[in-house]
């Protein structure tokens, strides 16, 4: 099993836990902290990414180490959570703190997956104490993992989704590498969990395997997925895309936007 798939297995494990569970999934010395089906934090020994560096880089010019360390010490002495302390001192914005925590968490999960750490058990915590602003859904984390190493492309894919998706439509963009599809951007709630999102992406990608035999110039297709909803899938130079449309009208609107976008790019 490859690194990305192993990381998705960790996320699927989080999803399989009861919704009110709070605690730590243990992988050797590495930990993934969860709360209410979301991920709060992940840490893996030997990770090349340090939270301190991520926090410093949220400001320009970067925060000084001295400022950060002084805040850490104050928080340690008072028992205040470090994140709250950083916000209260105005050293980092809420958005900056979230970005830093998210980058650290995805890196931690990637490290656990790469090191092929075995799951050793769950240690429950007595109470949920993480600020809801700074926890991450499993699908959001999956996107963060997929975008590692593809950041520029992920930004482009996100922009494409934003420009073509209309009402009653949600979508995802993914790239294909040796691990298969890697989701790099989503718009809206594409699936109930990581496995459903991946299933949709694999299905969309497999369609072009069939379609290519019929007409290798085909870039866009519309179908019905699981007999549930209309799905439009297409690809361009950057990525593959798949969108779920609640109505046929929404699918038709999306198709015409994709067509117009292709015409604009070709002009």
């Amino acid at each position: 099993m490859r690194t990305y798939e192993r990381a998705l297995d960790i996320l699927a494990r989080v999803e399989s836990m009861p919704g009110d569970t709070t605690g730590a999934l243990c992988f050797g010395k590495a930990r993934v902290l969860v709360q209410g089906g979301a991920i709060c934090w992940a840490v893996a020994p030997g990770s090349p990414v340090r939270l301190t560096d991520l926090l410093r880089s949220q400001r320009h010019p970067p925060l000084s180490r001295d400022e950060l360390e002084a805040c850490y010490r104050r928080c340690r002495d008072s028992g205040q959570p470090v994140g709250e302390g950083l916000l209260a001192a105005g050293l980092v914005s809420a958005q900056g703190l979230r970005q830093a925590l998210f980058a650290h968490t995805t890196e931690g999960i990637a490290q656990i997956a790469q090191a092929e750490q075995t799951y050793e058990g769950f240690v429950p915590h007595q109470r949920a104490g993480y600020d809801a602003r700074f926890v991450f859904s499993t699908v959001e984390t999956m996107v963060g993992l997929g975008a590692r190493g593809h950041l520029a492309r992920a930004a482009l894919v996100h922009s494409t989704l934003a420009s073509v998706l209309g009402p009653d439509t949600v979508g995802a963009g993914f790239v294909i590498d040796a691990d298969g599809p890697r989701v790099v951007a989503t718009a809206g709630s594409v699936g109930r969990g990581v496995n459903q999102v991946m299933e949709l992406c694999r299905w969309a990608h497999s369609l072009f395997g069939v379609i290519g035999f019929v007409d290798d110039q085909t870039r866009v297709a519309q179908g019905v997925w699981n007999r549930e909803c209309a799905v439009v899938t297409w690809w361009d130079a950057s990525a593959h895309y798949v969108a779920r449309c609640d109505t046929r009208a929404a699918a038709t609107l999306l198709l015409s936007r994709i067509e117009r976008r292709e015409e604009e790019l070709a002009a």
């Binding site: 299933e199 299905w203 069939v210 019929v214 085909t218 038709t252 198709l255 015409s256």
Partner: protein, 110 residues
């Protein structure tokens, strides 16, 4: 709107275009379909077993000049119809034309 009509199926993992690429009258197509429908060698699902669970019923593929529409005709026997229509900006019209062809084929073989 008239279009090309074909039968798509899978045999030994390869997608076949049994009839396509030429404008075919429905009567001719129906005559061609009859022996194929009687045969169980056209196994539509094989390719999906290889590429993951996929439902290709009501699939519309947009090529530069043509649109291919696939309907599953008989799920129990894994047979499907592929219509090839000239590309039109009106997607609803293309669906309508494709469904008309599908319904005619279904009626002809009811």
């Amino acid at each position: 709107m008239t279009g090309h009509v074909g039968l798509a199926g899978v045999r030994d993992g390869a997608l076949l275009r049994v009839v396509s690429g030429e404008r075919t009258r429905l009567e001719t197509f129906a005559a061609l379909l009859a022996p194929l429908f009687a045969s169980r060698q056209v196994a539509w699902r094989t390719v999906f077993e290889r590429s993951g669970p996929a439902e290709l019923d009501d699939l519309m593929m947009f090529g530069p000049r043509e649109v291919h529409v696939v309907f599953r005709l008989d799920e129990g026997r894994d047979q499907a119809l592929m219509c090839i229509l000239p590309r039109d900006r009106n997607i609803g019209l293309m669906w309508q034309a494709a469904r008309g062809i599908r319904d005619e084929v279904v009626r002809a073989h009811a």
